[in-house]
């Protein structure tokens, strides 16, 4: 359970988030959605403490995140974020084993149990065969899966993901989010995920927080947030709901603001 109250953040003078509060309970997937620049990633960073809000607080299972030691926090909260690192000569297995770091003392080396956890995590994202390869030599999609494996190896009760489906093809987008949703629903983890794709959000999230213009525009169950009347003003695009096989799908149609081919030829 992660609860945040009254979070705010500004880059330089530009206010990105103002007085944002939310709750991410156990066993559910909370999706953070919103247009570019609405502060989704910033909010995620505030939630795991990479940024610390000058106002308000974040609590993890009731304890103030700011009061937790760095390693204690890392044992509770795992984060998947792809960084544009320099040339990194580590193998995939070493990369995943970094997730065991918070569980080891400074002088302790990784042992058999840690290796088993890492191997299992890699297998769960379908990347077991990548283990001895160089991380730097992987494709974007393979890297993403390895980073998710690292977060799994961390065995934290809370999992935060920033655009985990970036670089993944359709099948892996669904596999990864299915895996993540399974962690929430079956292993009762808390999952918070930043997503661009509203249809993925519709399928895999339980609750949504829609960000726009420095704050939360709407929050609640997926079905309540993914309404044309809610989405259209925020994204500036026409939204149509289609239900097939009992599943919700969204179709998008640009407003006349953007000239269509017909306007241009007229």
């Amino acid at each position: 359970m992660i609860t945040a109250s009254d979070l705010s953040w500004a880059y330089g003078g530009a206010r990105v988030l103002d007085a944002v509060s939310l709750a991410a309970p156990h066993g559910r997937v909370l999706g953070l959605i919103g247009p570019n620049g609405s502060g989704k990633t910033t909010l995620l960073r505030l939630l795991h403490g990479a940024l610390s809000s000058p106002t308000g607080e974040v609590r993890v299972d009731g304890d103030r995140l700011a009061d937790l030691g760095a390693r204690d926090a890392a044992r509770r909260v795992a984060v998947v974020v792809q960084e544009a690192g320099g040339e990194n000569a580590m193998t995939v297995a070493e990369m995943v084993l970094l997730g065991r770091g918070p569980h080891l003392s400074t002088f302790q080396r990784t042992g058999r149990d840690d290796h088993a956890v890492a191997a299992d995590a890699l297998a769960r994202v379908g990347a077991a065969h990548l283990a001895p390869r160089s991380y730097a030599g992987l494709s974007g999609g393979e890297r993403q899966r390895v980073l998710i494996a690292r977060a799994l190896a961390q065995q934290a009760t809370h999992l935060l993901l920033d655009e985990p489906t970036n670089h993944l093809d359709i099948r892996f987008q669904h596999e990864v989010l299915g895996l993540v949703a399974g962690l929430a629903h079956e292993a009762h983890r808390t999952v918070v995920v930043v997503l661009h794709d509203l249809n993925l959000a519709a399928r895999y999230c339980d609750d949504l927080v829609l960000l726009g213009d420095g704050g939360i525009v709407a929050t609640g169950a997926v079905d309540d947030v993914l309404q044309p009347a809610v989405l259209e003003p925020v994204y500036g695009i026409g939204v149509e709901r289609v239900e097939t096989h009992g599943e919700l799908h969204l179709l998008f149609r640009p407003h006349a603001l953007i000239p269509t081919r017909k306007d241009l030829t007229a």
Binding site: R45, H48, G49, A50, G69, A70, R71, D72, A73, A74, R75, V77, A78, V79, V81, E83, A84, G85, G86, E87, N88, A89, M90, T91, A93, E94, M95, L97, L98, G99, G101, P102, L104, T106, F107, R109, H115, A118, A119, L122, A128, H129, A131, P132, A136, Q154
Partner: protein, 363 residues
């Protein structure tokens, strides 16, 4: 199917970690033996050449009292024990120190072109050395005046870099780089000014020689002991911090999510590296390229995990520097050339290859 083939290949070692460990052991043992051979050869080679067996006997005699009886001349004894061994040992320490500082800095600023001198520490040491050579500053420290003033200069430069890097809040890698480069240039200007102000051609030549590096000051005594303790300590520290360095090398946010506070670690590393580079440069001048090139060689040998890289880099740096020194004192014997010329000559082509490879991976 190919993937099944690899799966079978890695059965029993699904993560490929045992293979990695074997490779590391092989390299470590090989380089360890290489270092022993290097030290014996390095002490043996010179104007008076001494066979490796005699070198081993002289060292054994002095260290362990075995063999107890001297079968070699007093001159050979003095050459081996008083002149060449301290020099070779200093070479070992300086090479190892520069290499591990390079490893730490490249992880710290996440740039493969980072080298230990980016922190401006060597410019500070140079200013101190120039002040000692040209104006007799630190004469109170008698025979160690040069090393002590150089170290004080290095200390001042590190403090300056530290304060500038810390002044505006977040200690990012870019800020450390900028602070180091700025302080480095300022102190380089100071050194140049000292040379200019002294008006002594002979003094200028001495400073130049020192700037390019030399192990000629090596003696048994406190400075050598200090270098040994610092280089040994920092090697140990960086190995223990290996996992943290791994996390930091991936990225600040990643480090944070893995329970490592990136800014605090960077400051701690800054202190350790500045101290190590400070004592090394004070003892031997600014010897270039070792700290830049060796980390790459070490990573090529045993991969990116810092627990393994640090020790291997230390051994490689040690071997490389001793041989560079052998060349420096024998190529134009009896004239000795600055060791930095040798390391740069070897290092520059390597750098070009590296840049080509980087270019190839980027495109």
């Amino acid at each position: 199917m190919a993937s099944q083939g690899t799966a079978v290949l890695h059965a029993g070692d699904p993560l490929g970690l045992d293979a990695l460990r074997r490779r590391t052991t092989l390299w470590t043992v090989g380089l360890g033996l290489g270092l022993v051979a290097t030290v014996l050869a390095g002490v043996g080679i010179g104007a008076v050449s001494v066979p490796a067996t005699t070198v081993a006997e002289v060292v054994g005699h002095h260290l362990l009292g075995w063999p107890g009886e001297r079968t070699w001349s007093a001159a050979v004894d003095a050459i081996v024990w008083q002149v060449r061994l301290p020099r070779v040992l200093l070479g070992v320490l300086v090479g190892a120190g520069l290499a591990i500082c390079g490893v730490a800095l490249q992880a710290m600023v996440r740039n493969v072109l980072a080298d230990p001198y980016l922190l401006g520490v060597n410019s500070g040491a140079s200013s101190g050395a120039a002040a000692a050579i040209l104006f007799g500053v630190g004469a109170g420290f008698a025979e160690h005046a040069l090393q002590v003033t150089a170290f004080l200069g290095a200390l001042a430069a590190s403090l300056l870099v530290f304060l500038v890097a810390r002044s505006a809040g977040r200690v990012t890698s870019v800020r450390i780089l900028l602070a180091g480069v700025a302080v480095g240039y300022a102190l380089y200007a100071l050194t140049s000014f000292l040379i200019f102000a002294s008006g002594s051609a002979e003094g200028a030549r001495s400073v130049m020689f020192w700037l390019l590096g030399s192990l000629g000051l090596a003696r048994w005594g406190l400075p050598l002991a200090v270098v040994a303790v610092v280089v040994g300590g920092v090697t140990l520290l960086l190995t223990v911090w290996g996992r943290r360095l791994d996390a930091l090398a991936v990225g600040d946010e990643t480090a944070h999510t893995l329970g490592v506070r990136p800014e605090r670690l960077r400051l701690q590393l800054l202190v350790a590296v500045a101290l190590c580079v400070g004592v090394v440069v004070s003892a031997a001048g600014s010897i270039g390229f070792v700290g830049l090139v060796v980390p790459h060689l070490a990573r090529r040998a045993v991969g990116g995990g810092h627990v393994r890289v640090v020790g291997v880099a230390a051994l490689m740096g040690a071997i490389l520097l001793v041989w560079a020194d052998v060349l420096a004192r024998t190529l134009f014997a009896p004239q000795e050339i600055p060791i930095g010329i040798i390391t740069s000559l070897v290092g520059a082509p390597f750098l070009l290859v590296l840049v080509r490879r980087l270019h190839a991976t980027a495109s």
